[in-house]
Each structure stands twice: as C-alpha cells, then as structure tokens.
Symmetry: C2
Subunit: 659 residues, 2 copies
C-alpha cells in the first residue's frame, strides 16, 4: 500500500502500517522526533494504522496539535495516578471506578467513582504521582478486543461505566484499548489518539479542580467526581493560562457587581432577573444613552412598543411555533392570551403597518431599547451574561433590496464606532451564508443578491470577514461580530441579519416607484447585543475600571476635616452643574481610609479638600491614569473632566496625564 | 309652624307650607322673583312642602343653583317634546316609553325607548318643540299617589320602566309626580325639584347628542336612546361651554396623536397598550429625560428593577390580596408564578433589603421610570389617559420619621418646578387625612406626627392646600396635586404618600443612631404620574403645540428648489450637531404646500432655504411665536434655538420674539 506526504510525494509502506511505520519510512531522524500524525487532516497517533492512500503529516514537538495528544495521555496518566493514590491509602484498586476522560480546550478531565470525596489537597498528591509516571517514560500500546472479551474484562473488575460504554458501541465498531507500562501499568478502553510514551509529555501541566458531574450528564444517574487538568507545550503558555484564569476570577462581573454595588439578584424578584442599584443603573443608562445618541446621529429613529403583545401576533409571525420554548408562559383570561415580548420584530412591523408607506420613505430605521423576556433554563443562567430579562439595542430597518448594501454599510460603521469606543478593537466578522442543504427560504435570486450586497459592503468598509456556509438563519444571510476582550476571550456581540420572510408573513408593504405594492426587506440589527450582557462583558473587559464616562461616580470628594465640608458641598454643586457625578465622604474616618475605600469602588478621581484648597478654590486630586496633581483651580478641573466625559474616549483620558 | 330665614329670623307659616308659601310670607316681590328654595342647604322647589323649623333660602335668577332646577324641568320638557314629535309623525303616544331623566353637570339627559333610532337631525326638531313648550309657560304641579294607583297609571300606558322604578321604591316612601300644562300636558314620576313654570326657563339650552344606554346600565337589559342636553342661566355660559367642547374636541389627544404621528393602538398588540412612532417616542423620551435630570439635581438616585416579580412577593406585600383585580394574570409553570409589576414599591423595597443600612445613609431616594402594567377593564380604556401600560416617574424615599418634613418639602419643590415648566400653574393641593372611622393603620402617634410634618412642609413651601378628612390611604396621609389645564379641566397628577406599613411588611430596616434596628418610613412620590397619561394631558393642554424642547421636530427645512438640497443638508448637519431635530422636505411640492404641511404637524420653526440663504449661509424662518425673520446667520439661528431648547422655558420662547 502507499500513503501521500504533505509535499505530494507517494510513499510505499507495508500493509497495516502505523503512523510510526510511516515516520520510519520517511527517515530515522523524523521517526525519533515524531509524536503523532495527521491523517487526511485529522489528528491520529503513531500507534494506529493509516489507511491506504491517506495523506499523512508527521507531527513533532513543534506542532501545536501534539498538545492534544499529550492531554489525552495525561488523562490516562491521571487515572493511573488516582488508582495508585487510593491503593496507597489502603483501598482496593477496584474501588476506583472510571467513567470517561476526554481532551478539552487547554486540557483534559476524567470522571471517577471513588470511595471518598476528593479535596483540593488530594490533587497535589495525585499530580505528584502523575509526574513520576511521566518520568517513568511508560510505553503505550494499542490493541483491539472482541466485544465479549472487552465486556468480560470490566465484568471481572466490576466496572459498570466501562461496560455500559462498550455496550453502547455500534456493532462492527472496533473496540480498542490503550495500555501504558504493560499489564502492570494502566489500560483503558479508548479510541485514542495518544503520544507513544509518557516520557514525551511536556511537564507544563497542572490539576485545577474537582467537581461533581452526573454520569453521562444525566441527573438521574450517579454523581461522579470530575478532575480537571490543563496542559501546554511550553511553560509560557501554562503561565499565561494560569494568569488569565486568575485575572478572569478577579474580573468576574458577578464579583465586581457585588463589590462595586452595581446590581444584584433576589429570590423575591426571580431567577435570571437582575435588579440594579443606583450605581449600576447609571452604567446601564449611560450605555444606552451613548448608543441612542449615536443612532440619532446615524439617522436611526427610536420607537416605543412596550413589553407585551397578543399571542396571536406570534402565531402569525411564526415565533409561537419556533420560539415558544424561550417565551415566558402566556398571561391568559377569558378575553385574550398575552405574551411578554421575547423580541421586537413583530412589534416593529406592526408599527410599520400602522401607516401607508411609499418607497420615498425608505429606509425606515426603527430602533428601540426594549427589555425583552426570554425563559432561559434556570441551569443556564449566569450573572448578567445569561439572563431572562435583556434590554436589546435593537433596530429593524425597512428597506428595498437595492438599499441592503448601503444600510448594511451604515450599520457596520455604527458598530465599529461603538466597539472602538469600548476598546473592543480585536474582532472578527463571520458572514453566515446558506448551505447547500437545509431549510433556507427558497428564493435563489434574493439570496444571491443579498449575499453579494453584504460582501460588497464589508469590502467597501474594509472589514475583514470569513464566510461560514450553512450558518445563515433560515430567513436570510447575516453577519456576526465576535469581539475579543482584554483577556482574549471571544464574545458574540453585534449582529446584522437580512430577513426575507417575516415582513411578508406580517403583511408589511410599501408602494414602489412603479406604483405597485412591494414587500420591504428587513434588516435586524443589534449593536452591543443587550445592555445587561454587554455590561457584564465590559465589567470583565475593564476589570471594573470603567471608562470615565461610564463610571457611576466620577469624583470622590474627601474633605480632610469637618471644617472642609462646606467647601466640599460647593465643589459638588459645581460638578453637578456640569453633569458630573460626585459624592462626599463625610464619615469620620482617616483620610487614607477614605481614599482606599474610593479606590476599592474604582472611582476614577479622588479629590482631597483641605485648608489650602478651600482657600484657593482649588482641588488636589489623584486619579488612576495620571500622577497626583495639587492645587488645580476648581473650574479648570471641572472643565477638564467634563470634556473627558463628553469625549467618551478612553484614550483622551490617558492622554490627559501631563507628560 | 315656623321656618328660619338665612338672617336667623323666625317666620311663622301655615302647616304644610310649600316653598312658594314661604316666599309669599316673606313678601310679594320676592314671591314673584322666586324660582326655588334651599331647605337646610339642600336644593328644593316652590311646589314642595318645607319641614317644620327648617332653614329656608329663597332662590331667584341670581342664584346659580337655580340652573339645576331648570335643567331638571328641561328634562321633562324634552320628554314631552319627544312624545309630541313622534305623535306628529303618526306614532301612537304610547310607543314613546321613558326611563329616567336626571340632571347632570352642565345639563340633563333622558332615556327613551322609541319606535325608531334618532338621528342628529331629529334633535333640532325636538329642540324647537321644547322652545315652544317653554314659551307656552306651562305651570307645574306636584302631587302624590298611592302605590297601586301609581302602578296602575303606567300599566295602562304599558310603560315597563316606570313600573319597575315604582316597584323598587321602598315601602313608605311617597310616590310623587310632576305635571306640567295640566293633564293634557305631561306628567312624570319624579322626586323633583323643578321650577314652578316652564316660562321661567332661560333659553340658553341646547340638545347635544344621542347615544345608546342600557336600562339601568346593565348590558343584559334593553338598550335605550339617551338624549343629552346642556343648559345655562346666561348666553355667555352656554357659549363658553360650547367653545370649550369644540376646543376639547380639537385638542382630543387621540386625534392629535393620529394627526401628529405620535402614537397608535393596534389590535395585534392589545387593548390599552399604546405604541409610539418616532415622533411620539421623542416626546416621551424628552419628558422622562427632563424629570430624570431634575431628580438627579434634587439628589434622587435612579434604580432599575425590570417589569416582573415572583407572585410570592405580592403575597407578602399584601398587593395580591388587595390589588389582584388590576394585575395581569400570572405567568405560571411548574417552577414558579410570575406577575407583571403593577407598581414598583415591593421591588424597590427588595432592592433596599439587599444591603444593610445605617441611619447615616438615609434618606435614600430610589426613583425609576418603569413601565407598569395594570389590567384596567377594557370598557374604561381611553387613549393615553387610561391605559394598561403606564410608565410612572416613581420614587420611593426611605427615611426616618424625623425626615418626613424635609423630604416632603423637597418633593413639593420638585413637583412645583415641573408643573411650572409645563405651565400647569393653576393647581390645588389636597391633603388627605385619616377619618374618624375607617381601616386606618392603628398608630396614633405616627399619624399625628406625620400629619403635622406634612402641614409644616406645605406651609413652609407656601403651598396652599385644603384638608380632606377620611381621604387618606390606609397606610398613611397623602397630598395630591390637582392641576387645571388650559381649558380649566382638572387632572390629578402628582402625589406624595406617607407609608407606615409596607416597609414593615417587607422587612425593611436600618440601624439607628441608638444601634438598634428600626423600620424606615417610605414616601411614595410621583411627579407627572405616568408618561403616557401626562403626554395625553399635555397634548390637550397645549393643543398639540408642544413647547419647543418637547417638539418631535424643532425645524422643518424647506429648500425652495432642488439646487438648495445640498445647503439644506448642511443646515441639518449643523442642527444635529447642536442636538436639534430637523427634517428636510425634499418632495417636489410647492413651497406653500410644504409650509402648510409643516404647520399641520405643528413644527415650531420652518426654515425657507433659497439662493440668498445658501449664498449667505443664513436662514429665513417663520415660527409660531415670533414674526418671520429673514437672513439670520445660520450659527446665530442654531445657537438661539439650542439655548431655547436647553432652557425648557415656554416663556423664553415667547420672549425670543424681537419687540
């Protein structure tokens, strides 16, 4: 038989050749460095046979993909270590039962049924045993067993989970095992792929946590203990990852929300329904005000359509059929069934339908900050990023087919301006198109035309994008913005979607230049997505240190003594008149304690007011961005701050610091 | 027997003396001028007996109260005229059956069961017959019949409604009739009071309309035809009333809402749920922005608590028990029952309870513009003034008992500033106190203290008020602002209520200076009431001609020819940059048509842009408040307008007109 190498070379190899055999056939140097292979683009290992005619790439330590081979083998190493750990403590080996142990992003896990609950302390000890097993450089071997023998093996050890896994394998599927360190070592039912020896595993791994996990994710099945580990090829990667985790923990918006007094959840209000304290309300208000101002400048109009509609509207729009799962239950009496709005489109189309429209009026851009209600499963709720009440910065643009490109361009520009203000400049755009198959609206001409318009708009605006075939909504193509936050985590935020269907379903029409009735195209567009979710993302992105214009409190006023309270009140009045938010700390605490408390609340400016300042009508202040400044005339301080706030520019804030 | 005159004089009169007898006993001149009497303060007539010892005031044409006597007699005159009218047309007299015919504010009505439906044309003819009956100067006579005879009379004529009325009279109650023009004239079952002769009725009456009305207001009973009439003592009063009606019709906010493109209702959305077009959204947004800015300036804080809560919260607060009628039905699944918020108080108290509070933090003023949902009966819905979705400018002030006066004062000042901005300067304040009986919270000290605090605050702020005993809420005293609009109609708008109960029910507490836990007092406060209702009132108050700052469009730009479109776009940009709202009328209509259309939309400024203006960089404009001005430099125009808008002063707008 033969295989094909990446450069196209045809290489003859013996029948049943493995990845190792192919490496060897290429050359002994490569064979020595080889850690795995890619077979027709899929990750495989040196122990597995390669199929006739396959394209084979040999992977060495230089290939990032081998990290996943190591992670997989580390899962086995961990399982071996856990068994050894319990045997050391006097338990029977068979009391350690195993579920599954897959590779995940950055690492691996394994689920165990153990004689006792693990503590974080156990993890250190297990990790030590793992390092010894790696150092022992155990060789891995792969082999296949007939179903009966495979089952028999786990019947002997009384291992119910593995038996179940084997029973669930389709007939005809080979049942393979990986053994490390011979029969005395550790053997696991596994499809692979793995590294050939434990000794090649990079030492940059770490066990992170243990958590309960239902067998097969089913809450009626036994609860197992899942140990998570991370593993990387280099020390730098591991350290960066650990830093990111620590940073993410510190930035967790739920933690920041509590610490900064922004929002809370209450059993009395209901799950997934955040309520906002005054400091948090300011942040959400400023966020919405900003998008509203921008939308007004870009020629969008705002409408108001409340929070509910008659259920019959969702029957006609098709939402009741396709979307009922995420709607709150109906409010029902003899008269009528009402539903909370899970989205605005049918309401905006109803508003559109309340008038007669000519092509001259198009495009009509109806924007609204409406709180929508979606009945997410309680298990999926998470802080502000997964809520049941979400206030979308939603817009529906009614336009002709010929206007799609221009409207799409306008929306792109608006979105980019907003993301740039929030310093989310690292983003990618995915243009989702219909696939070859699937339940896409059957109107070839419309798809072709709209897709071309979107491409032209993206090109004209210089927005790089990747196309994803088969990812479109059934009603038309769409573009999604995936933006990276300061920790490199990707969030799907803005979206623009073309809709060929709903306007027709709900009977939207306009009179064209030809005097005939036409159905408008509708673009669905959201900028930040929802205020709640975006606020959660921004809190983590800025680690709570929000840009000045978003800060709930611009200036904390710290009078040094009670005799400076009058002056503090004057300063507060002046700030208030300029639209600036400040609070006076009139507690009888020491100055340093007051400054520290303001810093904990991440107040951007802290003004110290003492005799000198009161006499001179000045302020001395410290800020997070610039060195301390003393004796700045009050009006200059107010003007400077007001200008910074008005600019909404994080850059300007930093530039404000005198050289 | 004797009666007592207003000056205290004791006057001897014969037994069974009537009002006429008393007048006669006083003097023949008065007897001639007399039209009715007041007996112990209650309106009565010359035909009825006065009781022994009663205080009797004789009424002449100079007493406003006699208008109601005339109105009542006019109802009988109308009934006589209707019967005559149908007989003229060949119907049997008995086919005209009668229900009731009472006096109402400004006039009277009578309900008829007629052989055919009346048209507005019929009303003119009926009114002519009424005028003849008045001119005939028929004398009225009052008499009593035993129940059997009374019933028999209507059995003979086959009049079911009158029979039912008699049957429903309690036993022992005299059954009285008023007859005018003798037996050949018209007789009606009636308690009175009436004028003594039809000839004394002032001719300033008019039949207004006919409408369907169920017998006794019960929709399962027959539908009758109700004719409404108005009647006054003087021509001026009648004319003023007709002008007010016409003006109110023109100002009807539902009509203006349609004409100005502000809002609409839709069957698809639901009854009582207004939706707002872009022009209407601007008005509501500006209204809320104004109160928000003011509240911030006055030291209120804004919170956000969404639109629903778990039903259990309303169980604890007591709302479910007392308020369930006006709540929307619950949203219910296995997990939980949710309710749309009909008010914010329990949500704000929940937010308060999320933290620990010291007396130092009080007062805490939680304000929110939350849309509340109240399930008003569909028959009671009316435009924006009675809706099911209402966005309150609500606030709950958590304070100590000692702070009630200061907080009440602050709220009073805020309310007065807002009402003054809206030119609602003619208002009265009703201070509602507990009554001697009733289900008032049983805490004498709290009532006395709070009532004194409210009185002191009203006095200190120089707000005149009247006290209404027995009108307080069960949870504490309150003050309501009743403001008169431009047509003199009174609207209940702002309210401040003291609450001794809910904070304790929901477990609100703070640590006092004494280190102990205390329950705060809560003041409920609304300024404009709800955005929707206030917008309706303001549209009528200003007849749609909203103050500049509220106008959906500040300036309509009218280019004279297509070659001025570029300049118009420049002007628009400049206006937009200054936060001013404008639209370009680029239709190919004549200039006059464009100006007229802008005037119909009540756009405050209309700028005409032609060659001169484009060359000079100026605008020529007309406005509703000032004479036309030509060649005003663009920037000067923008600055002037921006300053007017920022001032939010209707006065400044008028003063802007050069002398």
């Amino acid at each position: 038989m033969h295989v094909v190498l990446p450069d196209g070379t045809r290489l003859e190899v013996p029948a049943h050749a493995t990845g190792a055999d192919v490496s060897q056939a290429i050359g002994p140097g490569l064979a020595k460095a080889a850690l795995g292979v890619k077979v027709d683009g899929r990750l495989s290992d040196l122990l597995s046979e390669v199929p006739q005619g396959a394209e084979v790439t040999v992977l060495t330590r230089k290939d990032a993909a081998v990290a996943d081979l190591m992670r997989h083998t580390l899962a086995h190493v961990m399982a071996q270590a856990v068994r050894e750990y319990f045997v050391q403590q006097g338990y029977e080996a068979q009391t350690v039962r195993m579920g599954i142990g897959p590779v995940i992003e950055h690492g691996f896990y394994y689920d165990f049924d153990l004689p006792r609950t693990l503590t974080p302390d156990d993890l250190g000890a297990i990790e030590q045993i793992m390092r010894r097993i790696v150092a022992d450089d155990l060789e891995l071997r792969k082999y296949e067993l007939p179903r009966d023998e495979a089952l028999e093996r786990y019947r002997r050890t009384g291992d119910p989970f593995k038996q179940e896994l084997i029973q669930d394998l389709p007939a005809g599927e080979p049942i393979t095992f990986y053994e490390q360190g011979g029969e005395a070592g550790f053997t696991d039912l596994c499809r692979g792929p793995h590294v050939p020896r434990t000794g090649v595993i990079a030492p940059h791994f770490k066990l992170m946590s243990v958590a309960g996990a239902y067998w097969r994710g089913d809450e009626r099945r036994p609860m197992l203990q899942r140990i998570y580990g991370v593993a990387f090829l280099t020390k730098d990667e591991l350290e960066h990852h650990l830093w990111l985790l620590e940073e993410a923990r510190k930035r967790d918006h739920r933690k920041l929300g509590r610490e900064l007094g922004l929002f809370t959840f209450s059993e009395d209000i209901g799950a997934g329904l955040p309520v906002f304290f005054p400091r948090g309300e300011i942040v959400r208000f400023e966020m919405e005000r900003y998008v509203r101002e921008l939308q007004t400048r870009y020629g969008y109009q705002h409408v108001w359509t409340g929070h509910m509609v008659r259920e019959s509207l969702y029957e006609r729009s098709g939402h009741l059929e396709n979307y009922a799962d995420v709607m709150f239950p109906a409010m029902e009496d003899e008269e009528v069934r009402m539903r909370l709005k899970p989205m605005n489109c049918p309401s905006h189309m109803t508003l559109f339908n309340a008038g007669h429209h000519s092509y001259r009026e198009l495009p009509l851009r109806y924007a609204e900050f409406a709180t929508l209600y979606r009945y997410e499963k309680s298990g999926q709720l998470s802080g502000l990023t997964r809520v049941r009440s979400l206030t979308q910065d939603d817009c529906h643009i009614f336009c002709t087919e010929d206007q799609i490109q221009a409207e799409f361009s306008l929306a792109l520009r608006l979105i980019r301006e907003v993301l740039s203000t929030y310093r989310m400049t690292d983003y990618r755009v995915q243009l989702s198109l219909r696939g070859a198959e699937g339940k896409y609206v059957d109107d070839d001409e419309k798809w072709v035309k709209a897709t071309a318009a979107l491409r032209r708009a993206l090109d004209a605006e210089g927005v790089p994008y990747e196309e994803a075939s088969g990812e479109a909504a059934f009603y038309g193509p769409k573009a999604d913005f995936m933006a990276k936050d300061a920790l490199g985590r990707e969030w799907q935020l803005s979206t623009i979607q073309v809709d060929f269907i709903q306007p027709a379903r709900l009977g939207c029409s306009y009179i064209g230049e030809d005097g005939d009735k036409h159905v408008p195209v509708v673009l669905h567009r959201a900028v930040t997505g929802s205020t709640e979710r975006f606020m959660g993302v921004m809190l983590e992105h800025f680690a709570g240190d929000l840009p000045l214009w978003l800060a709930p409190e611009h200036v904390r006023l710290v009078p040094i003594a009670d005799r400076h309270l009058d002056y503090a009140a004057q300063v507060r009045e002046r700030l208030l008149a300029a639209g600036l938010r400040s609070e006076i700390d009139d507690r009888s605490e020491r100055m340093n304690a007051k400054v520290r408390d303001a810093e904990l609340l991440k107040v951007p400016y802290i003004a110290i007011l003492g005799d000198k300042e009161a006499e001179a009508g000045s302020v001395s202040f410290r800020s997070r961005k610039e060195p301390n400044r003393n004796g700045v005339p009050l009006q200059a301080f107010v003007d400077e701050l007001a200008a910074l706030v008005a600019s909404r520019s994080a850059q300007a804030e930093e530039d404000a610091a005198p050289a």
